[in-house]
């Protein structure tokens, strides 16, 4: 990893010329020049100029695993809040149970939490989620916390390094939804430790070598446990 400082860009900042680079995510082109459109971190290592958002709503994309909260049960479908700008539709065909027409409320009701997969995002940004995949089910027990969706990659770490650390040292079950919702289940102390650590990761998401730092921290705490 390069040690140079991460460069923060603000909307309307000039990033480059279309002759040299291609405009990637978080940018727009006007008169042959590339500008940033969001507040974020500049990434121009490849042939694309990308701006990774620092804040903002969860932007759903297909096959993301998310945690949703049921908002409404209709005759043959549910509406699920997945922290995006729009509620997502969960059709009875997309659940593992055999649901009769009008009987949806017996399986999922207002306020229930589910782990789901984003099935479809169409051009009008109409969303559909599904429960038909491995390890997708209705959540019972545990705790749900919200983080900034843009910080989710940091919490998971490279190839899941950060999250496996957390699981190893706290012995909790953790599921991180791409939409910034995290479900934790375990002992009271363990859950508390996970939440503290995640808050720390969120606050220091911009610094380097975070995984090592967090490991040291967890090790120190875990000494008397082991």
């Amino acid at each position: 990893m390069t040690q140079e400082k991460r460069e923060i860009v603000i909307p309307s900042q000039l990033l480059g010329d279309v002759k040299n680079k291609k405009a990637g995510r978080g940018t727009f082109v006007e008169n042959g020049k590339i500008y940033a459109e969001i507040l974020g971190i500049l990434n121009s290592n490849s042939q694309y100029i990308n701006v990774v958002a620092l804040k903002g709503r969860y932007d759903p994309s297909e096959n993301d695993f998310v945690i949703g909260i049921v908002e409404d049960a209709m005759a043959s479908s549910w509406l699920v809040d997945i922290n995006a700008a729009y509620p997502a539709l969960l059709h009875v065909n997309e659940v593992p149970w055999d649901v009769d027409f009008g009987e949806t409320e017996r399986y999922l009701n207002y306020g229930d939490c589910i782990m789901a997969k984003v099935l479809q995002v169409d051009q009008e940004k109409k969303l559909q989620v599904t429960l038909k995949d491995r390890n997708l089910y209705k959540i019972k027990g545990g705790q749900l916390i919200d983080v900034e969706p843009s910080k989710v990659p940091r919490i998971i770490g490279k190839k899941g390094s950060m999250i496996s650390l957390l699981k190893k040292y706290t012995k909790c079950r953790i599921f991180v939804g791409q939409n910034g919702r995290i479900w934790i289940e375990g002992s009271e102390d363990g859950v508390k430790k996970v939440i503290d650590t995640i808050n720390k990761i969120e606050n220091e998401a911009l610094s380097y070598g975070l995984t090592n730092k967090i490991e040291e921290l967890l090790k120190k705490d875990a000494k008397d446990v082991h």
Binding site: I8, P11, S12, F28, L39, K55, G56, A85, S150
Partner: protein, 242 residues
């Protein structure tokens, strides 16, 4: 209008010792509210304004939704205690007008096509008023939108110019606004120089208008620098803390 004894302009200095092209002091802080997706607190002279951004979220009532783009719902509100005499709370003719012009100014810079069927709600709360609150409100709203991570083509910025005792000046204060002869609030997109909002209260000759407009645009660029500095400051401080 000029039947008062107040001397607004003396020896090249204004009431508060400012030069004709000098602005009041501006302080901007980004991200002050926890519940809002983006927020900003701004002090412009004795104006105190707080702006909060919610969304993009599903537009309600449903008939206001646009299937192709987002709508911007700005709401400008003056607190009852923001002015000398108590202001009767609630929306009135003036605040509805300002809400509308600010919404339209913001619609021109936000990339609305990214969020069809949604609304982006901007609440602007004036806590303390001392002339030029619509400029302060728009400037604060722009920073709050950046804080909310909403994609924009530019960070809009506003500033006013006006005329007191036949002299064109920048950024009118309270007495200058009340007893002066014209007020010209302008909002621009600083990258392109496009004008997003232009209103005028009072009378100006064509020459005076041109002069006031140039002055206001110059003021906008000054405010824009302060805005950008405030945004950068918020994030620069994080890695250094450790």
């Amino acid at each position: 209008m000029n039947d008062t004894e107040v001397k607004l302009f003396e020896n090249g200095k204004r009431l508060d010792d400012r030069k004709p092209d000098e602005m009041r002091e501006i302080k901007i802080e980004m991200g002050v509210l926890h519940r809002a997706e983006g927020s900003c607190y701004l002090e412009w002279g004795d104006n105190k304004v707080i702006a909060a951004v919610y969304g993009p979220r599903e537009a309600i009532p449903r008939h206001t939704q646009n299937p192709l783009r987002a709508i911007v719902k700005a709401k400008y509100n003056m607190a009852a205690f923001s002015v000398g005499d108590r202001k009767r709370p609630g929306p009135d003719r003036r605040s509805r007008e300002i809400s509308k012009v600010i919404s339209e100014a913001l619609e021109n810079v936000i990339l609305l096509e990214n969020f069809p069927r949604t609304s982006i709600d901007v609440n602007i709360e004036v806590l303390d008023a001392e002339a030029g609150t619509r400029c302060a409100g728009l400037t604060a709203a722009a920073v709050a939108l950046v804080d909310a991570g909403i994609p924009m083509k530019d960070i809009p910025v506003a500033c006013a110019a006006g005329k007191i005792e036949d002299q064109v000046v920048l950024d009118l204060g309270k007495d200058e606004d009340n007893y002066g002869s014209a007020d010209l609030p302008v909002a621009i997109s600083p990258r392109t120089g496009e004008i997003l909002l232009l209103q005028m209260d009072g009378h100006l000759t064509v020459e005076e208008f041109d002069k006031a407009l140039d002055l206001a645009i110059k003021g906008c660029h000054i405010v824009s620098d302060i805005q950008k500095k405030a945004i950068m400051e918020k994030y620069q401080s994080i890695p250094e803390e450790k």
